[in-house]
């Protein structure tokens, strides 16, 4: 599926000076709440931490994909955060994380989130691609890289 359709350029954050996994989740819940998604930060935060308790969203390859299905969210919303430096994320491969992609969806349409997670799982398996995301200097560059990666699959 076309993930970039759910990613607004203003929801891309470059080289954020976050230092811990909890700090990332806390900060992400704050920026998502402030982005006008219509859900209070506390609800988002709670769902993100609840999901991490099931299993870490550090899926390996230096990527974290914290996500949550929250009552009241319409559709699907993606947020991309590149980190200033690698941070521990309890990842499945025990390696630190440099890129975080947050997904927030409607629990009534879980298939949308499933499709998006599958797309992310596929494109983020490419180690060089993750490095290129991390090294990107602008939001536009991150958006373009993701779009191009998705288009390669489509073609």
């Amino acid at each position: 599926m076309a993930l970039v359709r759910y990613l607004k350029p203003e929801h891309i954050y470059i080289h954020c000076p976050l230092e811990t996994k909890d700090g990332v989740l806390e900060w992400l819940s704050m920026v998502v709440a402030e982005s006008g998604i219509g859900i209070p930060q506390e609800s988002l935060r709670e769902k993100l931490f609840e999901r991490e308790q099931t299993m870490s969203t550090g899926i390996g390859n230096a990527v974290g994909v914290p996500h949550a299905l929250v009552e009241g969210i319409k559709g699907l919303h993606a947020y991309v955060v590149t980190l200033e430096k690698p941070i521990p994320f309890d990842a499945v491969d025990r390696e630190p994380v440099i890129v975080v992609i947050g997904l927030f969806g409607d629990p009534d349409t879980p298939n949308l989130s499933l499709g998006a997670l599958a797309t992310l799982g596929r494109i983020l398996r490419d180690e060089r691609f993750v490095q290129s995301l991390w090294k990107a200097r602008t939001k536009e560059e991150v958006h373009r890289l993701l779009s191009e990666k998705e288009e390669k699959k489509e073609s």
């Binding site: 999901r51 299905l69 879980p110 997670l117």
Partner: protein, 115 residues
């Protein structure tokens, strides 16, 4: 000639379904164990682990009943029987039921192929 396929979550109703099929003359079927895609992904692939909560209350395995049915009337009867036995497939999480037309069948009960 048709292939009847009933994918049932868990094994509740399985015995009843098989007994009812026998009663209407469907005397041959195979029962396969399977697992649903979302169950598999949520258990095996970390990125999908969050979907475990959606699956709460469902069984982690399915039973698949497959049967070759020769005549259309019996097929219709079998479909209706299964649906009634499980209390209406459309009404709840009782699995999915479908049939497929079969082009070829080779079995001990069929005539050998020519040549």
């Amino acid at each position: 000639m048709w292939l009847l396929v009933y994918i049932l979550n868990g094994d509740r109703y399985l015995t009843e379904v098989l007994e009812e099929l026998l009663e209407i003359g469907v005397t041959g079927a195979s029962i396969l164990d399977s697992v649903g895609m979302l169950h598999f992904l949520s258990q095996e692939i970390p990125i999908f682990a969050g979907f475990r909560s959606i699956l709460k209350g469902t069984k982690p395995y399915n039973k698949i009943v497959i049967s070759v049915i020769g005549d259309e009337q019996r097929l219709e009867q079998a479909l209706a029987t299964i649906d009634r036995t499980v209390g209406g497939i459309a009404n709840g999480k009782r699995g999915i039921l479908f049939s497929l037309p079969l082009e070829h069948l080779i079995s001990p009960e069929t005539k050998p192929l020519p040549g």
